[in-house]
Each structure stands twice: as C-alpha cells, then as structure tokens.
C-alpha cells in the first residue's frame, strides 16, 4: 500500500553519509538500502515522513519535513494550533 506519488520531502546527502545503516534500521517502510557503506533512497514514495531516519542520523545527512500524516491532526492544527491527531487520544495506530 502506498499513498501519493512525488510528495515526500525526504532528502539524503549521499556525500555526507558514513554508511552506519541506522536510517535503514529505523525505517518502517524499507525506503533505504545500504550498498558499499553508503545509504541510498530506493523507495521514496513509501516514505511516511515519520522522521526516524533524520533524527537518528549521527551526522545529519538526512532531512525530512516530518509530522503526522493524519487529516484530523492537520485540521485540528489549523483550527486551534494543537495538531492533535486522532491517535493522540489513545492510539489506534498499532
């Protein structure tokens, strides 16, 4: 299952990458592949912008405009600035 194409904000600076592989470890959707001590984005459209890779990258080679991919969260954010997501009220997401 995949959402919209060509919208994801994930960016990898392959020059900087030291190939530690942590991005590929934390990614829940197999967006990365590590080949010869370098990370590559192999499935950009599968990215859900959770931010796990960017937050764990030890040298800041990754950037992503992360946030909850949740319509109610975005609506609530616009209405009252809280950005509360449906799952914040207790967690339907697994």
């Amino acid at each position: 299952m995949k959402h919209l194409k060509n919208v994801v904000t994930l960016k990898l600076d392959e020059e900087k990458c030291i190939g530690c592989g942590l991005c590929s470890t934390v990614c829940p959707h197999e967006v990365f592949s590590i080949v010869d001590k370098k990370a590559y984005i192999i499935d950009l459209d599968a990215c859900m912008e959770c931010g796990a890779c960017a937050g764990n990258c030890p040298i800041g080679a990754l950037s992503v405009d992360s946030g909850v991919g949740c319509a109610s969260g975005i609506i609530n954010g616009l209405l009252n600035g809280s950005g509360e997501c449906c799952c914040d009220k207790g967690g339907t997401c697994a």
Binding site: T25, V26, S66, D88
Partner: protein
C-alpha cells in the same frame, strides 16, 4: 502511584499484574506477570472500543520480568497498558528489565511522533530509576516504532546507554533475542494487514458516532420542511441514511482499503460512496423526488469520502505532505458536495 503526601517513601501501588519483587542495589523492583488474565483481555477489548482509552495507563518506572540479573536486557516501553501488555506477553520465559516511559498513556508510535516517547524521557527515566546501578551493561532495547522520537546518538551521549532498536512488533522479540539482537527486514517493516484494519474499525466508528449523530439530527430536522408544513415523517429515513454512510466510511473503507482503486484516501472514499449511492438509489431508498435523491447521494459521498480521508491518521503509511496535498483538493469539494446536498434535500422537500 507514589503518593506525594507521604512523609516516608511509599511503596509503588500494587497492580494485579505484579507478581512480586526483586531486590536490587537501589531497592525493590516489582516483578510483572507475562500471562494476560481475563481482566487484561477485557481491558484491551474496552480500549479497542475507545472506552477509557485516554486513561489506560500504568505507572512509569522500572519493572522486572522473570528473574533478571545485572546482565539481563533492558526493554523500553510506553505507559499505555495495551503496549505494555503486548510487551510482557511477548517476553514470557525471558529474564529482563522493562523501563516504562511516561508517554501520558499513549502508545509507542504515536507518542514517538509527538516526542513524549523520546530522547529526553529516556534519559530522564534512566536517571530516575538508577538503572546504571542495577545492570552491568549499557544497552537499551527500544522498540523501532519509538525511533521517530529518539535520537540514538543523543541518548548515548546524555545517558551513557546505547540504543538498540528492536523489532516493530513485540511478538518478534524472542526471535530478535535469539538472533543476538538482530531483526530481519520483515521484523522491521510496518504493515497494515486485514487483521490490523479490522482491529481499528470499532474505534473509528465510536470516534465518528457523535458527528454522525449531529449530522443525522440536522438533516432529519431539515428534511421535515415541506410545502404542506413541517413533519418529522422523514426523520427516520435521514437517520438510516446518515448511519449507513457512517458505517460505510468507518468499516467498509478500512476493510477494503488496499482493493479500492486510487491512492488518495478521499478518492477511495469517493468510489465507495458512489457505490453506496448507486446501490441505495437503484433500490429507491434515497427519497421520493429526483432532487432529494441527488441531495442524499451527495451527502453519502461526502460523508464517506471525508471519513476515508481521516482514516489516513489511523493508517500506517501516509505522509504529512501527502495528506496535506489531498486535503487541499478534497476538503473544499467535500464541503461543496455536502452543502449542495443539504440544499437539494430542502428544495426537494419544498417542491
């Protein structure tokens, strides 16, 4: 719960799932059972129906599982009892320590998205529980879905404990431990199986019940206007239609999600809403006049499409950029459809 009014240190509150204590250099740590009781199962069932879901919490802190030694692994978890129960259930037969973070009763993944399951709380909880005096190693097993809130390099720097990301699902922990802390790609992957989707349907329906009821009442009242005066004869019809749309958006869409054409959730909802329109329309269930029929059709489609769009928050694979993009297009159309539908129902009644 430690009572702040106590003069002397109070013992943590005894919970039914605690089985005893283990002695450690920094005091007693409660042991927890690894078998779920009927009470735990009923508790899980209740939150699956969104009953008391905001208060299904346990006390943050350190717990022991089995007969842990200083060499035993440390598992980090959230203080949402459903998450905690999954973990202790999966760890049956294992000796270890469970470090429960204060995530305000929210599950690991959602709390990580907000940062409450995160670097700062891990560092804080490590210091508070003095776990460095209990274990001889310096490793924490953090669930992979906690990673959006955690920076492994930062945790190491600030607490002295290295982070090992465990599998996505607690049930894979025994295999992860047996493989010497290695997770297979399969264990690292989040899915959204039919079973997962069925499990979230009750919560979807409960969450939307109030809105559906409000809409049903409003439309029931509006559909009573006619040339010959006001009557509530059509009210039950309005209720049945709105709640059919509610059931379709909250149950049929999640159930059939991967098989409905289109990637955008609002479009998936549109297709299912149109199907509903066709089915009810061809059975002559949408009203007496063509205007009323058209009005109800538009209402059905907008409700189902809007609920489907909101299911992005429950789904496990949509990005913020993607959801924003589809919202910008879908919400204005859904609004126009719903308003035109309502106007048509009123005009249909007046003719």
């Amino acid at each position: 719960m430690t009572d702040c009014c106590c003069k002397k240190p109070c013992a943590p509150k005894r919970e039914p799932w605690m089985t005893g204590d283990v002695e450690t250099p920094v005091g007693k740590v409660p042991t927890i059972g690894t078998r779920l009781t009927l009470r735990d199962e009923l508790g899980a069932l209740k939150v699956r129906f969104a009953i008391g879901r905001n208060n299904y919490t346990i006390e943050p802190g350190l717990y022991a599982i089995g007969e842990p030694t200083p060499e035993s692994p440390v598992f980090v978890s959230a203080n949402y009892k459903l998450s905690f129960d999954h973990l202790r259930c999966a760890l049956g037969g294992t000796d270890g320590w469970v470090l429960v973070l204060d995530t305000k009763g929210i599950n690991v993944w959602c709390a990580a998205g907000k940062g409450t399951f995160g670097t700062a709380e891990i560092v804080n909880r490590v210091q508070q529980t003095k776990i460095d005096q209990i274990v001889s190693h310096r490793k924490l097993i953090v669930p992979q879905l906690g990673a959006p809130g955690v920076s492994a390099p930062e945790v190491a720097k600030q607490s002295g404990f290295g982070v090992l990301y465990g599998p996505v699902r607690a049930e894979d922990l025994p295999k992860f431990l047996a493989a010497e802390f290695k997770a297979t790609p399969e264990m690292r992957r989040v899915r959204f199986t039919l079973r997962d989707r069925i499990a979230v349907i009750p919560v979807e329906l409960v969450i939307w019940f109030k809105q559906a009821l409000g809409l049903a009442i409003a439309l029931a009242l509006l559909s009573g206007i006619s040339r010959n005066g006001y009557s509530l004869a059509n009210a039950p019809h309005a209720f049945v239609l709105v709640f059919t749309a509610w059931l379709t958006g909250g149950a049929v869409v999640p159930l059939l999600l991967p098989w409905i054409p289109a990637r955008a959730f609002s479009l998936k909802g549109l297709w299912v809403g149109l199907m509903l329109w066709i089915v009810l329309g061809s059975a002559n269930l949408l009203g007496a006049s063509p205007l009323t029929e058209l009005g109800w059709g538009l209402i059905l489609v907008s409700v189902v499409s809007f609920m489907a769009l909101n299911f992005t928050g429950t789904s496990t694979y949509t990005s913020m950029s993607g959801v924003k993009k589809e919202m910008k297009i879908a919400i204005p159309i859904q609004l126009i459809a719903a308003i035109s539908g309502t106007v048509l129902i009123i005009i249909g009644g007046l003719r």
